[in-house]
Structures are given as structure tokens and as C-alpha cells.
Amino acid sequence: MHELAICQSLMEQVESIAQERDAKSVTSITIGMGPLSGVEVQLLKNAYPIASAGTVAQDAELVIEHLPIKVKCSQCGSESDALPNKLTCKQCGDWRTTLISGDEMMLMSLELEKTKGAQPEIMH
């Protein structure tokens, strides 16, 4: 279970960006995850409230974009969808393919609430 470690690493990154940008809070975090990232999305979601507690992003929504597995065949050149343990070319069946998408675990974007001009926050 390395998802907590990955989630903590995510929060460190989010906090440092929020600080750089002088943000009051982080309202949304969008991450892109591929099935071949080695990260179990549900475990990451479970770890998120623990890792974000007490940070500038504790009320941020975690948005997960599921990225598809795609391979490019080195023999026939075509691109096709694939399964985690079946990365062969759908066109010609050859196994010599390159993964072009599907192993991402990426912080894609953040939505920040800025210090100046921000609406007064409702107390929880």
C-alpha cells in the first residue's frame, strides 16, 4: 500500500504551488491516472482525506481523470487501445508495441482561491 506515500507527495507539491501563488486555499485538485501507473485509484481516494487534513487543500475536491491505455505498434504503425496485461497490437497482433498512454500518475491542475478579492469563508 504505497498510495498514502504517493498522496503525501502529492499534497507536498500542492502546498508548495499554493504557497508560491499566494493562494488562500485550494478548491480543486485534478490528477490523471493510467491503469499502468501501479496506483490503485480507490486506495488513493481513501488516503486523500488523511494526507490533506490540516493542509491548505483540506477542503479541495480531488478530481480523477482516468487515462486510457494506448499502444503504438512498431511493426504496422497503428495505434490501439489495450489492456494492462495485453499490450499487443490490435491491428496486426504483434507484441512489439510502445506504450503511448496509460502509465501516468500526474498532477494535472489545481484550482486556487486567491488571498485578495476572495469571498469571506463560511465557517465549518
Binding site: 493562494a23 499502468l36 507484441w95 512489439r96 500518475m105 500526474m106 498532477l107 491542475s109 486567491k114
Partner: protein, 273 residues
Amino acid sequence: MCDTCGCNITHGNESLIRPGGKLQKTESGKEAVTVLHSLLHENDHTAKHNRNHFDQHNVLAINLMSSPGAGKTALLEATIQQMGEGLRIAVIEGDLETENDAERIRKLGVKAIQIATGSACHLDAHMIHQALHNLDLSEYDIVFIENVGNLVCPASFDLGQHANVALLSVPEGDDKPAKYPVMFRTADLVMISKCDLLPILDDFDPERAKKYLQDIASTAPIIALSSKNLSGMNNWIEWISHQIEERIAYLEEHPVQSGHHHHHEHHDDSLTV
């Protein structure tokens, strides 16, 4: 993938980043920031730093990964005995608890550093960085990192190694690459270990293992080896020698900047490059 040149924009995510894509929307009073960094940005940064450190000293770093009990330590013992004085070896051992593996290596007169990860199921680049503080790399040609026995978590963490070796032991079954594609995809070499058991456990078919590896588009060479009767040992030593030659050739073409001053502060989580 790096985080600077845009190569991390893949077919999977480019539609999200394009103007008008999901990641572009912002409500008033808020700022949207496109980041596109790996979730393990900090780990990857430290891994790069470790690799640079190895390269400065012409040290080849090999990361051994497998499930627990696949024979990583036995492989290291056999390798040390086979190589003799030919190559100067150091070992970094990762386990949840105990110094047992490090002690086995030290008995052979080889420097071994034990990292006790506590409850952590993998080594990360920071742990390796700390271990390197206790290792004078100018005294070694090769550093083996024996990762925590686990076919899942170690696959996600770059340590700064030059090559990954995944062991698949005969008792585990030949379909492990299909069950753990993320791990086996990272392998630069797949070793079928404990192959002296092949005649007994004849339901393990090396050809089938090869087929499963092709299914995950692995181009890694496969070596069947027994640390017990030493069959396949020559292929393994040859592969290591080839890695060293390749590394030397690479470093001749891409020299490490000699002006890179390296000051370490010896407390946790402090990195000065």
C-alpha cells in the same frame, strides 16, 4: 518522462489540456494552474540526483525486485562469490525489519547497508540518498539495491538506478508477469530464479513466462538461473559486464559535469544540489 519539455502531454491527457478542455475552466475569483508533474515529482528529483551521484563515480546501480523469497539475496551471494575480486561490489538492502540480509552479504566480506523501512512496502529515492551518505562510491564499481520483497509498490519509485532486474522464481508460477504487469514492465532483465527446481515443478513453463512477458510488450532479455547449482550464472555475469560497458560508453558521450559541487547536510530530507 520529464516535467519540462512537454513530453508528459500524452494521447491520454492532451484533450484535457487543450484550450476549452476540462482543465481550462475557471470560476471567477479563482485561478486555475496547469501543473503536469508526476505525483512523485520530489522522489523523481532525488532519484535523478542519486543517479548523478553514481555516474560521477562510474558506479553502475542495479535495482533487484521480486516477491519475498524469490532468491534476491541468494543471487547476490552467488554473484559476489562468482565475481570474486573482479568487481568491487556494495549492497543496499531494503527490508521492513532485521539486518539478516545485510549480515549474509557482510559474511562474504562485502559492504552492505541495511535500510529498515519499518512499515513501508518499498524503497524510495530518499532512503537510497540517505544510504549513500554511508557509502564512499569511489571504492565501488557496482551497487546492488535489493528492494523490499513486493511485486507491487517498488515498481512506482525510481531510486536512481541504471537498470531494474525482476526475479520470477519457479515456485511462484509462470503467469506472474500477467498478474503484475506494472512491475514486470519496469524490468530491463527478467530472471527466472531457482531454475534448479524446473524438473520438479514442471508446471512452470519458461516459454509460457516468455509469452506473458511479450503480452506486456516487454523487450527485456530473460535469463534462467540457479543460485544453487550456478546454471545460467555466466549469462548473468555477461549481462552485468555488458551493462557496465554500456554505461561507460554513455558517460564518455555524456560526461557528468565535474564542476558539480555536492554538499550534503546530514539530516533527513535535506538535499543541496
